[in-house]
């Protein structure tokens, strides 16, 4: 089963929950950090401070971008007219290419009537594999200045091979979140009981409902924010996403987090709760006939 952890609002505890869940399963599990613009799962794993530069296995992630052969190019502008992202401009019969605008769709090389465009690899980020006990940890990191997160997220997801898989998604409801969530069997939306937390929870829930991913809610820092949980329950009811866990707003958890330790080491009882969440998600994801429901592609 693949569980994607998302939130809407940033800073609600996606990484805390992802790492806590992975450490609690006591079985081989892929933990995929798909928040490639700011990956941080490595900070909360038991040997925190993984040196990304000298990690066990590092792979470069590239996307194909156009290279124009000036001897063949006639400056007709077909490539530029096709490109929906403004990555190619033709002025004075010369093609200008902006790699930071290119979405690597390959369309320009197809429409060029002169066969003047070939594709060359352009590095956008790195993928780091490492192992912590039963956890296979994969972290994608987009290079500074690069904007094309989805291809890197796809490459990170390809490292998982059908075992239990936990995906730590980016905050928000943008393309990188959709890419991380695509094909997941279940979703876990982490929120806090504050106006911002609930507002963005509803946005994220809308995305997961549209994607057809059955999901549950984790309330983090339970005890802060609104007086009661009425508004939270309203979101839960509206989307049919049950509240599966409450992580208390506690000194012990805050200390562990600040020290870069996973919360299950500070409050061991949480392991049982995380396992119960996983089991409930498995129940929601799998229909009684045993077929996987949801948005499997």
């Amino acid at each position: 089963m693949t569980v994607v952890v998302a939130s809407g609002k940033g800073g609600t505890g996606k990484t805390t929950v992802s790492v806590g869940l992975a450490l609690s399963l006591e079985q081989p599990v892929h933990l995929l950090d798909c928040d490639v613009e700011a990956p941080n799962t490595h900070l909360l794993l038991p040997n925190a401070g993984l040196d990304l530069a000298s990690a066990q296995e590092t792979n470069r992630c590239t996307v194909p971008v156009p290279r124009v052969n000036p001897d063949r190019c006639t400056g007709c502008g077909a490539c530029s007219a096709f490109c929906g992202f403004g990555a190619l401009a033709v002025v004075r019969n010369r093609v200008l290419f902006f790699d930071d605008l290119c979405h690597a769709c390959g369309g320009c090389s197809l429409v060029c009537p002169e066969g003047a465009i070939t594709e060359v690899p352009h590095e956008i980020g790195t993928i780091v594999d490492s192992h912590y006990g039963p956890i296979h940890h994969v972290l994608g990191e987009l290079h500074v200045g690069q904007t094309l997160a989805p291809p890197l997220i796809r490459a990170v997801k390809e490292r998982a091979d059908g075992l239990a898989t936990i995906i730590d998604a980016a905050p928000g409801t943008t393309c990188p979140v959709m890419e991380a969530a695509r094909g997941a069997d279940a979703g876990l939306l982490v929120t806090e009981n504050t106006p911002f937390g609930l507002h963005d929870l509803a946005l994220a829930a809308e995305v997961f409902a549209d994607l057809g991913i059955p999901s549950g809610i984790v309330l983090n820092r339970a005890g802060i924010g609104h007086e009661d949980e009425e508004k939270l329950r309203a979101v839960s009811r509206r989307f049919g996403f049950p509240i599966l866990m409450r992580i208390p707003f506690s000194d012990a958890i805050a200390r562990a987090y600040a020290e870069g330790r996973p919360i299950v080491s500070a409050v061991p009882g949480l392991r049982t709760e995380f396992r119960a969440v996983y089991d409930e998600l498995a129940r929601m994801a799998i229909s009684p006939s045993g077929a996987v429901s949801g948005a499997r592609s």
Binding site: G86, V91, R92, R94, L96, D100, L101, G172
Partner: protein, 124 residues
């Protein structure tokens, strides 16, 4: 000589739009004939790469001078390659900007005035 001024509103006095790329209108002025043409910028609401596309459009219209408030790296590179001079101003109306240009009181931009936006102001 043909000038292009990024334009926010068309009713007199037409206001200059400080943004290159996402201005709703482009005012083209032919200084030889004094003919003025206001064109709706159909590219203004694009998702990304708007600056580069509008720069290419301005080049296709035959302008050799752009007057705007600020300009990003892609748009600047296209205008530069097209041999178009870019002038930046804090003037609020098109007429004021044109007058300053004619008096030789506008600064020519030799580099982009800021970083790219990648889809408007919503950066993460």
């Amino acid at each position: 000589m043909k000038l292009c001024v990024t334009t926010a509103t068309t009713e007199a006095p037409a206001r200059l739009d400080r943004r290159f790329g996402r201005s709703p209108f482009l005012t083209f002025v032919d200084t030889d004939t004094d003919e003025t043409k206001i064109e709706e910028n159909g590219l203004a609401d694009g998702a990304s790469g708007v600056g580069a596309k509008v720069a290419q459009l301005v080049a296709e219209r035959g302008a050799t001078v752009v007057i705007t408030g600020q300009i990003g790296p892609s748009a600047f590179a296209v205008l530069d390659a097209a041999g178009i001079a870019t002038y930046t101003t804090s003037a609020t109306t098109v007429a004021e900007a044109l007058a300053l240009f004619r008096e030789g009181r506008l600064d020519s931009a030799r580099a982009p005035t800021g970083p790219g936006h990648h889809g408007g102001s919503r950066r993460r």
